[in-house]
């Protein structure tokens, strides 16, 4: 330590007189200070010396030399305009993921990069799906920047080839990459060369942790075939529950698998038809072989164990099996099911199986059944869920017809909820439905009274509508949506806030379409 500092720390009372400094120039400066009564003391001299030395040192500062990392490479795409940057900044600061997705997708299509000011925010995103969307917009600058911050390493680990293409160094990445990279390489290889991918999995199986074994098992669902069955059957005996259920899930979707044969045998034992009636007899207990195939116990207090096993079994059996097994049409089976006390489980099991395996004969009869107004014992939640499951197999025009009927009369007696029916339409909606929705909404608002305390069912669907209305409906949607003056209670204030959010979302979508050319 500098002798001057040592004296100052200990104090002149103990250290006595101080030596002069060795630096000639500061000493000379101190000596030049005009003397007065106070300046002669040891303390004062110490302070002067320290002050002069500090100024002297400061004036003599020399800058160290450091290396600079290589700069970022030149970008292949242009950077987005200030207007787009302002819009994306606004979207990134909010939490509307659908709008973010829309904007990021359009930027990618327009080959526009994020402005540098947004890169730190974009690199700090934690959500995997958002990262996938943002990655192409980071550009060379974003990748360059990510090397300086450990928590941004995901950007460098993302595969740099177009989505789906196998990188040239696939095998090296599989051996040495991060777990995210390895799984992505495996999934891509699985799509082009399932046998080689399976071989990689088998070689790696024993040394991988259970989380990675789960991911590898799930990757087998891509192009799953009979050759994978042995490996998946072994995975059913894995010590980790996550691996077992992942394997069961893949095997269940694989027609002709041994697991599916076991399911069919179990289903046949539960269901028979004789003397004009459907006989349903779910087991009262199940053994370890059922659990090995992925059976779980019901977690809902309202669903008994037997009902749950019946539902789980039926949902794994392709519906076409029942026509062959029982010699009845879907319509006959649906009607017969209603006569049994297991009607709900039978219908839900068949619906789930139809959604999973596809069964043209079954789709419309089931759809019409779930559209019917709730009967005794039916739950609207189940009807909505089943309607949603079947929706992808129903023609868009059919779904829209149901939705049009409902927006014209939301009180119409129908099985599923208003929300489910509206949500089953793919965005963007047709102009016809968009107009009808807005007409219905405005009619509802106009009819609100001072005592109205519910905006059901419109309030639930506003968020969907804001994202699904076609551009041709924007002008009509942006006409002010204001509640009647008398509707001022708390519930209506909430509804007004939802309406404002609806308007805000439409405005943002409008800006995205206008400012980011796709």
């Amino acid at each position: 330590m500098d002798p001057l500092v040592t004296v100052a720390l200990v104090g002149t009372a103990q250290s006595g007189a101080i030596e002069t400094m060795t630096d000639a120039a500061p000493d000379a400066l101190v000596a030049e200070t005009p003397a007065d009564e106070s300046s002669g003391s040891n303390e004062r001299r110490l302070l002067f010396q320290a002050g002069v030395r500090a100024i002297y040192q400061s004036a003599g500062y020399t800058a160290p030399a450091i290396d600079a990392p290589a700069p970022a490479e030149t970008e292949a795409w242009p950077v987005a305009s200030p207007r787009v940057t302002a819009l994306v900044k606004l979207l990134l600061s909010g939490n509307n993921e659908d709008l973010q997705t829309l904007a990021f997708e359009r930027m990618r299509q327009a080959k526009l990069l994020l402005a540098p000011e947004l890169l730190p925010t974009a690199l700090s995103v934690r959500d995997q799906e958002k990262r996938r969307l943002l990655y192409p917009l980071l550009g060379k600058r974003g990748l360059w920047l990510s090397q300086f911050n450990q928590s941004w390493s995901w950007a460098r680990e993302t595969l740099d080839t177009p989505e789906g293409a196998l990188p040239a160094d696939a095998e090296t990445l599989w051996q040495e990459g991060s777990s995210g990279q390895r799984i992505e390489v495996l999934r891509r290889l699985r799509a082009s060369n399932p046998a080689l991918a399976r071989q990689w999995i088998e070689e790696a199986w024993k040394r991988e942790k259970f989380e990675f074994r789960v991911d590898m098992t799930r990757a087998l669902a891509i192009n799953a075939g009979p050759d994978d069955e042995a490996l998946l059957e072994r995975a059913l005996d894995d010590k980790a529950g996550g691996v077992r259920s992942a394997a069961a899930e893949v095997l269940r979707s694989m027609p002709g698998s041994a697991l599916m044969q076991r399911m069919i045998a179990r289903a046949d034992a539960m269901l028979s038809y004789s003397k004009g009636a459907l006989k349903v007899n779910p087991p009262t207990t199940i053994d370890a072989t059922w659990e090995r195939d992925g059976f779980t116990s019901s977690k809902s207090p309202s669903v008994g164990a037997r009902a749950s096993w019946l539902y789980q079994t039926l949902s794994c059996v392709p519906p076409v099996h029942w026509g062959q097994q029982l010699g009845m049409s879907p319509e006959q089976l649906i009607a017969a099911a209603a006569e049994t006390k297991w009607g709900a489980e039978l219908l839900q099991g068949w619906t789930k199986a139809t959604a999973q395996f596809g069964a043209p004969d079954w789709v419309m009869p089931l759809w019409n059944r779930w559209l019917q107004p709730a009967k005794k014992g039916d739950s609207q939640t189940a009807a909505s869920e089943m309607y949603g499951l079947l929706a992808p197999q129903i023609a868009a025009s059919e779904r829209e017809a149901v939705a049009l009927r409902l927006v014209a009369d939301p009180t119409a007696a129908i099985g599923p909820r208003f929300y489910t029916v509206v949500a089953s339409l793919e965005p963007p909606w047709s102009q016809q439905f968009g107009d009808a929705y807005l007409r219905g909404l405005r009619a509802f608002i106009a009819g609100l009274a001072a005592k109205t305390t519910s905006a059901d069912p419109w309030d639930d669907t506003l968020a969907i509508a804001a994202l699904a209305l076609p551009q041709s409906c924007f002008a009509a949607a942006l006409e002010p949506l204001t509640l009647p003056e008398k509707a001022t209670n708390w519930y209506m204030q909430q509804f007004q806030r939802q309406l404002d959010e609806f308007t805000n979302t439409i405005q943002l979508r409008k800006r995205i379409y206008e400012e980011i050319p796709a």
Binding site: V5, T12, T33, E43, A50, A63, A86, E117, F148, N149
Partner: protein, 453 residues
């Protein structure tokens, strides 16, 4: 108007005003929007219809709303919109804007006239001549001189005690230990020295070499009190500095008499704020394009009141800079300002190397040894994040020769993103140990850096 939304938001008095301003940056709530070279205007529908106008030379906002905030959310909303020519079209100002502008022009002309008159009357007067003082003023002056002298005597005794007992004893002292001493100096009307003493509280225990740093600061204060006591032996310019450093103020109005006037185009390179006792202090650094003179504008605000003038980093202003008298001639006041609507695109008049900057700074320290902060403007410099592999990361600004100065920021990621490892122009404030980044230009765009991480 070539401004970014970030630059406009930097004008907001607080974050809630900034958020409210952003909401109002929507053409749907406005009507009769327009802008000219001089002003932007519009009518905003709030609880009532408010008439909002902004003079673009000074960013002075006038709004008919009752808000006590300045600028109000309507003003911010209008400025945000005005950054986009598509939202606020060029137009002829309506009468209510014209009238306001002409009233402002009259007031400003009157001020300028007064200043010119003062300049004409300048000859022979000095700040300390006191020739024109009334006897009451002289008595007040003498009384204050005596008060300050007593205050500094007490401070010297206290510092001598510190040296006698040793600095080891102060490590455990609370901040009030230093605060108490600073308060006594405020009572003695030596606010400048009080600020230096208050600053000592933050040094103790803050870093491994704190005794060294603390001793150096105490030594500089001791030299200042000594210089003040013997100011009659100093040359006139240094005497002015020493008196201002202790706490004597030079009124802005007197600058025309005593200050040096430099007319130039001034680049507003950066700005930052800090709290000093009960005041909020704003430091704005300017650099003259022709004169290459750095200038520091200090503004103070008490209890959240707005600063008297608005300086927007990244803009250029033409005007007369009156420097406060002294040897350093850094602090100044800008008069007769006129906005140049072109934003700063580079800082090519900055130093080429850090060595040049340090040499100029050493020369300035030779003139005024108590100068604490210096404007660093580097042309073609690279922000560098070092130690990023093994950590902890360290940040530097590096010149073309490879010399670098450490930065006083925790994680200036945006700075790195703006540069991409390529040379940029950089402005910061050097405090003798580290640089506080204030602004940079990259690819022709100015980015404010203070508050940016």
């Amino acid at each position: 108007m070539q401004l970014s939304s970030d630059q406009v938001l930097a004008l907001a008095p607080d974050s809630s005003s900034a958020a409210a301003g952003k909401k109002l940056a929507n053409v749907r709530v406005w009507r009769n929007l327009g802008q000219s070279d001089e002003a932007a205007w519009g009518e905003c529908q709030g609880s009532a219809l408010y008439q909002v106008r902004v003079e673009l030379a000074t960013f002075t906002v006038k709004c008919t709303c009752p808000s006590h905030k300045f600028p109000c959310k309507h003003g911010l909303g209008l400025l945000l919109l005005a950054t986009d020519a598509n939202s606020v079209p060029a137009a002829e100002p309506p009468d209510w804007v014209k009238e306001w502008l002409s009233k402002r022009a009259t007031t400003s002309a009157r001020k300028q006239e007064k200043q010119e008159k003062q300049e004409q009357e300048k000859g022979g007067k000095t700040a300390e001549s006191g020739n024109n003082l009334t006897s009451d003023q002289r008595k007040r002056l003498e009384k204050r001189e005596a008060l300050i002298a007593r205050g500094l005597d007490t401070l010297d005794l206290w510092m001598n005690d510190l040296m006698r007992n040793g600095l080891a004893s102060v490590e455990a002292q609370p901040a009030t230990y230093w605060e108490h001493q600073a308060a006594q100096l405020v009572d003695a009307q030596a606010a400048g020295v009080a600020g230096r003493v208050r600053h000592l509280a933050g040094i103790t225990g803050s870093r491994p070499d704190w005794p060294d740093v603390l001793l150096g600061q105490l030594g500089r204060i001791a030299l200042l009190t000594h210089a003040y006591r013997h100011s009659d032996t100093l040359d006139a310019a240094l005497r002015e500095d020493v008196r201002q450093l202790v706490g004597w103020n030079v009124e802005k109005e007197d600058l025309a008499d005593t200050g040096e006037k430099v007319s130039d185009e001034w680049y507003v390179l950066g700005q930052w704020e800090y709290d000093d006792d009960k005041l909020r202090v704003q430091k704005t650094w300017l650099l003259g394009r022709e004169s290459r003179r750095p200038a520091l504008i200090l503004q103070f605000s008490a209890m959240g009141r707005p600063y008297a003038e608005t300086f927007l980093p990244g803009t250029r202003l033409t005007g007369d800079l009156y420097f406060y008298p002294g040897a350093a001639r850094l602090r100044g006041h800008l008069a007769n300002r006129q906005a140049n609507t072109t934003a700063i695109a580079d800082m090519a008049m900055g130093y080429a190397t850090i060595e040049e900057f340090l040499a100029a700074r050493a020369e300035l320290l030779g003139r005024l040894p108590w100068q604490d902060s210096f404007l660093l403007v580097l042309h073609d410099a690279i922000p560098v994040c070092a130690n990023y592999i093994n950590g902890p990361t360290a940040w530097y600004i590096r010149d073309r020769t490879g010399a670098a100065l450490p930065l006083r920021v925790s994680a200036p990621w945006q700075m790195l993103a703006f540069s991409g490892g390529q040379p940029v122009d950089f402005a910061g404030e050097w405090d003798g140990e580290t640089v506080l980044p204030l602004g940079m230009t990259a690819e022709g765009i100015y980015y404010p850096l203070w508050r940016v991480s």
